[in-house]
Assembly symmetry: C2
Homo-oligomer: 383 residues x 2
C-alpha cells in the first residue's frame, strides 16, 4: 500500500516517523556482496508538502550516527529537535515552504530501519553478525525503493548530505542519474583516507574487544557499552578540530583548581568525551557501529566505476560541493579531487571551501553561511 | 657507590645497561604532588667516553614509549638496535667519538626504572595504582640525581629529546639552569593541546575498560592486553600523518583482491595497526601507559613558572627547536610559541621547521637532515 506523501507533512512542527517495508522473501533485495536481505524496513520522516507535479522533493541522507529524524519534534514534550533542524524548516536552508523533504534511516542502522539489531526472520532472533554487510550503494538502493516505489516520486529535485550523507548523495547521482537533478555534498569524500579507515578500525576493535560484545550476540543481555563508548570517544575527536577543541576546552580542569595527581577525568575535555561516549551508548547499537563504519571504509566511488571522472560521466546532476578548512577527517583536498573529476566529466559544479574552525562537524554547525550557499544553489536547479 | 662513567662505554657496539638506586627511606624523593617515592632505581645506558674535564656529556631523554636503550645492541644476537641508533654513534648526529651520551628510562616507566610494575617496599607486591603519580618534573629530578650524584658530572653539554623527551629537555633547562649548557627540543611542546589530552584520555579509557586491568592489580595474572593494544593503535595514528599513512597504505587490501564483506582486518592499515598494538603489549606495561600519559597531560611549562617567557627567563641554555610540518600531535605552531617566548626572554635559540610527511614520528625518521642541524648546533655550544 502506498500513501499520498503530502499527508505525512509536519503539523505544528510535530513530525511522525513512518515506515515502509519491502523486499519480502522470495523477492529480497540483492546486496552489493551478492547476499540477499529482506524484508527490509525503512524508517523515514517528511517535512513540507509535495507539490502537484511532484517536482520539489529533496532527499536528506544522514551521516554515520544520524537517523531519519532530521527536523521538527516527535512530541510536544520532546526536548531536542531533529539533527539538522537548524537547516530544515520554513525559510531555512532546506526551505519546507518550498520543498518537500524526506529523510530516512540507513539500512544497517539502528533507528528504525532494518539493521543488525532487527529480527532475522529465519531465526526469529536479532541478526547480530548474521546481518549481511551492507554498502553505501545498498543503502542508496533501499532509499530508491522508498522514494520510487513507495512515495512514487518521478525524480528527486536534490539529494543532500554531509559526511557519510555526502557519500550517499554521490552514489545516488551516479547510480540513478536520471532520478537526481542535483546533489549537495557537504564535508564529504569519494573515498576515505587510510587515516580514516584506521580510526574506524580502532572503533571496531574497541567494540569487539569488549567481552560483552559476545561476537555480536548481546541483544537482551548486557551491551558492550565500554567498547562502544571508547569507539565514540575516538570518533568524536575526529569530528572536531585541534582549534575547536582548544577554544572549547583548552587545558581547563573540570572541577579542580589544580591537579589532583590521580586518574579521574580532571581535564574538561576528558569529561566531555566521556559524556559523549556515555550518551551515545544510550542511542546507538554497537553492531550498527561495525556495519556502518565498514560501509564507509568500503565506499570508493572511483574504484567502483573505473575512475572518478568515469563515475561522474554517468551522472547528470548539478553538484554543490562544500568543504571546511579545519575538517581533517574528510579534508578539503579530497573535495577538490572530486570537483576536478566532476569538471573533467563536464558536470556543472559549484565548489566552496568554508573557512571554519569546527572541523568535520562544521556541516552541522555552520548554519548561516551554508544556508546562503544552499538556498541559492537550490534555486539554480532546473527540473 | 659511584663508578667512573667512562667504564660504561660501548664496547664493539654492545652496550650494557646499568642501574642506579637512590632515595632510600627515610630519604625518599619528594614528588611534585607532595608524595614520596623511594627507593628509586634508574636504568641507564651510556655511549662514547667522558672526557677528562667532564665537559662532553649529553643526556638523551626519551619519548613516551622509549627507554634507556637508545643505541647499540644488547648482545651479539640482538636483532634490533636502540630506538635512536640512527642518530647516536660515531660520526652520527650525536657523535660518540666526541660526546659522552647518557640515556635513562623515566620513572613511572617499565623498562628498568622504578614504575607501577616495581615492587612497593611497603607491601612486597607490585605498586600498581599505589604508585604515586609522577610528572615530567619528577622524571627530570630523578635524572638529575643520576647525572649529578652518581655520574658526578659538573654539567650537561646538552639535553636532547623528541616528543616527551623534548618536554624533559625543556624542564631540565628551566629547573637546572646552571647545569644545562644547551637543550635540543625536537617535535615537542611546552604543553599538549586539548586534542592531545583527548587522545591520551581515550587510550587510558581503553586500558581501564579492559576487565583484566583489575584496577591496576593484574601483575602475575592475565594482562589487559586488548585495552593496551587499542590504546597503542590510537596513539600510533597520532604519531603518523594523513599523508604518510596515505603513502604507506592507501586503501590497499592486505591479502584480498576485492572486498570480503566481513569484519576481518582487510585493509593493510588495519592489519598494520593491529600488529603495532600486539607488538606493544609484549614490551609495555599498561599501568605505565596511564602514568606516563598523565605526566604528559600535566606538563605545562608556562603554567608552572607563571608564563613561558618567565620560565625561559630562568634558563641559561642555548636552544635548538625543531618542528615537523606534518606533526599534528605537537604541531609546529606550538614550537613557534615556545620559540617566541625564548626570544622574548633573551635566550639564544635556533628554530627550524622541517618539511616532512612523516608526522610526529619524523624526529625518529628524518636522520639525514636532523644530523646536519644537530651537529652544527652542538658545535656552536660554549662550555
Amino acid at each position: 500500500m502506498t500513501k499520498e506523501p503530502a499527508d505525512t507533512a509536519v503539523k505544528n512542527n510535530i513530525v511522525i516517523p513512518e515506515d515502509y517495508e519491502f523486499a519480502y522473501p522470495p523477492s529480497e533485495m540483492v546486496l552489493e556482496s551478492g547476499k540477499k536481505l529482506g524484508p527490509i524496513n525503512i524508517r523515514y520522516e517528511t517535512y513540507g508538502r509535495l507539490n502537484k507535479d511532484k517536482s520539489n522533493a529533496i532527499l536528506i541522507v544522514h551521516a554515520f550516527s544520524g537517523d531519519a529524524h532530521a527536523a521538527g519534534y516527535h512530541s510536544e514534550d520532546d526536548k531536542s529537535p531533529g539533527w539538522w533542524d537548524n537547516m530544515i524548516g520554513p525559510g531555512k536552508a532546506f526551505d519546507t515552504s518550498k520543498y518537500y523533504i524526506i529523510c530516512s534511516n540507513v539500512i544497517g542502522g539502528c533507528q528504525g530501519s532494518t539493521g543488525p539489531a532487527s529480527i532475522n526472520p529465519e531465526t526469529g532472533k536479532p541478526y547480530g553478525l548474521s546481518f549481511p554487510v551492507v554498502t553505501i550503494s545498498d543503502m542508496v538502493k533501499a532509499q530508491y525503493r522508498l522514494v520510487f516505489e513507495h512515495l512514487r516520486l518521478p525524480f528527486l529535485y536534490a539529494v543532500a548530505g554531509g559526511s557519510m550523507g555526502g557519500m550517499q548523495a554521490l552514489e545516488w547521482s551516479v547510480a540513478y542519474p536520471d532520478f537526481v537533478k542535483s546533489a549537495l555534498i557537504l564535508a564529504s569524500t569519494a573515498r576515505i583516507t587510510a587515516q580514516g579507515i584506521a580510526f574506524d578500525a580502532v572503533g571496531r576493535n574497541a567494540i569487539v574487544s569488549d567481552p560483552r560484545w559476545q561476537n555480536g550476540d548481546y541483544y537482551g543481555k548486557k551491551i558492550p557499552a565500554r567498547g562502544l563508548s571508547i569507539a565514540r570517544m575516538v570518533g568524536h575527536i575526529t569530528y572536531l578540530s585541534d582549534e575547536s577543541m582548544g577554544m572549547k576546552f583548552g587545558r581547563r580542569l573540570q572541577t579542580r583548581q589544580k591537579y589532583g595527581y590521580d586518574f579521574t577525568d580532571e581535564f574538561e575535555v576528558e569529561s566531555y568525551l566521556h559524556h559523549q561516549g556515555d550518551k551515545f551508548v544510550e542511542r546507538f547499537d554497537a553492531n550498527s557501529y561495525l556495519y556502518i563504519t565498514k560501509a564507509m571504509d568500503y565506499f570508493d566511488l572511483g574504484a567502483k566505476y573505473g575512475s572518478l571522472p568515469q563515475a561522474f560521466s554517468r551522472a547528470k546532476a548539478k553538484y554543490l560541493v562544500v568543504s571546511f578548512s579545519s575538517d581533517w577527517l574528510y579534508p578539503p583536498y579530497q573535495s577538490k579531487e572530486m570537483v576536478f573529476a566532476m569538471i573533467k566529466s563536464g558536470r556543472d559544479v559549484s565548489y566552496i571551501e568554508l573557512n571554519s574552525p569546527y572541523g568535520h562537524d562544521s556541516f552541522l554547525l555552520e548554519t548561516t553561511r551554508q544556508k546562503k550557499i544552499i538556498k541559492s544553489f537550490l534555486e539554480s536547479v532546473n527540473v
